[in-house]
């Protein structure tokens, strides 16, 4: 297994290279001279010139790329114009919020999505399945920002049950009660994603149900619920894991809106604010971090899939 992991890591390198090229291209596609863009409107000509030399902007582009890559590998993603701090640290500060939000959302998605998908598949063709199908489609059609606002409006403001904005740190304060700030955002974020997961789990289960070995299991006299779980779901799990992985990465996207609506100090809100503030180094940094994150999640999904499916040969 260890060798497999190593091989997959090596295989991820070309993808990382392409990703780095894309991010580097992004930097240079932003209108305006990168140095003045990075220093912002307030900088004077001297500082700009100095930064230009430092960034090697007068050198050939491939040298600039290598220079940038070497910086990145050392953890230097540039400096935030707004915060006047290293980008990585700025991103790091938002990481706690976004990580917990993603975690809670995934828990909700798994808790709702998997059972619902299994039930829908077991009862496929019946009223239950059809209504579930309609419901999931409806929830998938709801914009997250609307749902967030709606929840704030009904639950928090009207009923005054839960806080509606901000998130005091748990790691710093050790106060677990602060997690309640994440309840509404997690619900908001999980709704459309659960809908998607339910549909995909259902589809995956239905595909497996058509397989011959399910018929064999029934021929052995196995109880239907055991057939569904041990035979159908266990095989559908492989696809489900991939779905969950891809959902997890997608959360980053939706979180942008949710964090804005709930004023959470996470990476999502940071992106929006940075765009409005023209803090380009931070934007670049976040995009790079997200792509690397995606590659890592893919890797984990691959490894888990291999572990789940004995047919995949470990070479």
């Amino acid at each position: 297994m260890g060798i497999y992991v190593l091989k997959r890591l090596l295989g991820a390198i070309p993808t990382l290279v392409i990703a780095s090229l894309l991010v580097f291209a992004f930097i240079h596609l932003i209108p305006g001279d990168p140095a003045s863009v990075m220093l912002g409107d307030m900088a004077d000509a001297e500082d700009i010139a100095a930064l230009r030399t430092e960034l090697g902007l007068d050198r050939p582009i491939w040298e600039q790329y290598l220079l940038w890559v070497s910086h990145v590998l050392q953890g230097d993603l540039g400096s935030s114009i707004y915060f006047q701090e290293p980008v990585l640290r700025v991103i790091g500060e938002g990481a706690e919020t976004s990580a917990f939000l993603a975690l809670f959302t995934m828990i909700l998605i798994i808790a709702i999505g998997l059972p619902a998908g299994i039930v829908a598949a077991s009862f496929h063709g019946t009223r239950i399945d059809q209504s579930l199908s309609g419901l999931t489609m409806l929830f998938a059609s709801i914009p997250t920002f609307w749902l967030g606002l709606y929840l704030i409006f009904t639950i928090a403001v009207r009923l005054n049950l839960l806080p509606t904005s901000g998130f005091p740190s748990v790691l710093e304060s050790g106060n677990l009660a602060n997690f309640r700030y994440l309840i509404l955002p997690a619900i908001t974020l999980s709704a459309p994603n659960s809908a998607l997961v339910i549909r995909l789990v259902r589809a995956g289960m239905l595909d497996v149900m058509r397989e011959d070995y399910v018929r064999t299991a029934r021929a052995k006299g196995i109880a239907e619920h055991a057939v569904i779980l041990r035979h159908v779901f266990r095989n559908a799990l492989i696809g489900v894991v991939a779905t969950l992985g891809f959902t997890f990465v997608g959360l980053v996207s939706e979180a942008v809106v949710t964090e804005t609506v709930f004023a959470l100090p996470g990476i999502g809100r940071l992106v929006v604010q940075s765009i409005l503030r023209r803090d380009y180094p931070v934007i670049q940094g976040i995009i790079l971090v997200v792509i690397v994150f995606y590659i890592l999640v893919n890797l984990v999904v691959d490894i888990v899939t291999t572990w789940l499916d004995p047919r995949v040969k470990l070479q």
Partner: protein
């Protein structure tokens, strides 16, 4: 009350299965009846689409509900009408008192569990055994079906085994609870010729060893000749002829059976062209009135269109569903 020795192990009577499709409901099989004694092998023969698999699934209670269900008839198995049982009751009988093996060994085993585990699952569903005991039983069963190095093989995954081996595993799984009836739905069709012969031999020896009856479903008359004691021929959802196997080959009475036998080329005959049966099987939604074979039958006469012929007994133990059956040849002198 008939004693177990007197009554047949399996007696299917007037079985009818209805299927709901997008184009309407139709009967996949009608008036299907046959009997199977303990320790006997009955071959159920017919071309694809004639309903033989549906019959097997109906007996096992494996029809894909709600699309397909038994709409009439009884399935008497060892004194109980299986058609009248609830799903839960039937489930307890499946895998325990009756077993079934299927055509596609390559896809009929769950890919994520070891072969031994799948056998253990079949066993522990019906018997109160511990895991260790059950595993040992499983290994013994694998050995009985002729898998070499059974103890190691039991820890293999299905994809590590060849088609023939997987079919043996399927057989082991179906028989591990020592059922009295094994239904084999085209078990050798997907295998190469030499493996076919091995599997058939295996089935026969297991039949002797375990004292079970086999319902062998196939479209291959060669298989029937090899293993069956009695034969039932199906066409377009009905049984059209039943007979002892030697009788059937010697003196087929239904025109369809006759044509089938003629169409098998023999090495010692001189033919310019292969013999075929004209026309094709009508779809279940468009069956002709009266005898469903009359459009293709060289002996058809107006009467055949009036009503479905009954399954008449033309000789002891030999029945055919035809108004104008083929004449029986004179009894042959025994060949020495």
């Amino acid at each position: 009350m008939s004693t177990p020795a007197e009554r047949p192990l399996l007696a299917v009577e007037s079985l009818q299965v209805g299927i709901r499709s997008a184009r309407g409901t139709f009967l996949a099989i009608e008036e299907v009846g046959f009997a199977l004694d303990e320790g006997e092998v009955l071959g159920l023969v017919g071309e694809s689409g004639c309903g033989k698999s549906i019959t097997a699934l109906a007996v096992m209670g494996l029809l894909p509900q709600p699309v397909a269900r038994i709409t009439a008839g009884q399935v008497w198995f060892d004194g109980t009408d299986l058609a009248a049982l609830t799903n839960e009751q039937m489930r307890h009988m499946r895998g325990d008192r009756l077993g079934m093996i299927f055509q596609e060994p390559m896809t009929s085993l769950n890919p994520v569990y070891r072969v031994g585990d799948q056998l253990v699952e079949a066993l522990r569903e019906h018997r109160p055994l511990g895991r260790g005991e059950a595993w040992r039983e499983a290994v013994a069963m694998l050995d009985m079906v002729g898998i070499p190095a059974a103890r190691d093989r039991a820890s293999s995954y299905p994809h590590e085994l060849s088609g023939g081996m997987r079919q043996r595993v399927m057989i082991a799984m179906a028989l591990i609870c020592r059922p009295k009836l094994l239904i084999a739905d085209e078990p050798t069709t997907a295998l190469d010729v030499s493996t076919q012969a091995q599997i058939l031999d295996l089935l026969l020896s297991l039949k002797r060893e375990l004292g079970m009856a086999i319902l062998m479903i196939t479209h291959d008359l060669g298989v029937v000749a090899e293993v069956a004691d009695r034969v039932a021929v199906m066409y377009a959802g009905r049984i059209v002829e039943t007979a002892d196997v030697f009788e059937l080959f010697r003196a087929p009475r239904h025109p369809y059976t006759d044509a089938l036998l003629r169409s098998i080329p023999r090495l010692d005959s001189e033919l310019d062209r292969l013999v075929t049966i004209e026309g094709t099987v009508a779809s279940p939604l468009e069956r002709p009135s009266g005898c469903s074979f009359r459009d293709r039958c060289p002996r058809a006469r107006p009467r055949c269109a009036e009503a479905v012929p009954p399954l008449g007994e033309l000789a002891p133990g030999h029945r055919a569903r035809c108004y104008f059956p083929v004449e029986a040849p004179a009894p042959q002198a025994e060949r020495v």
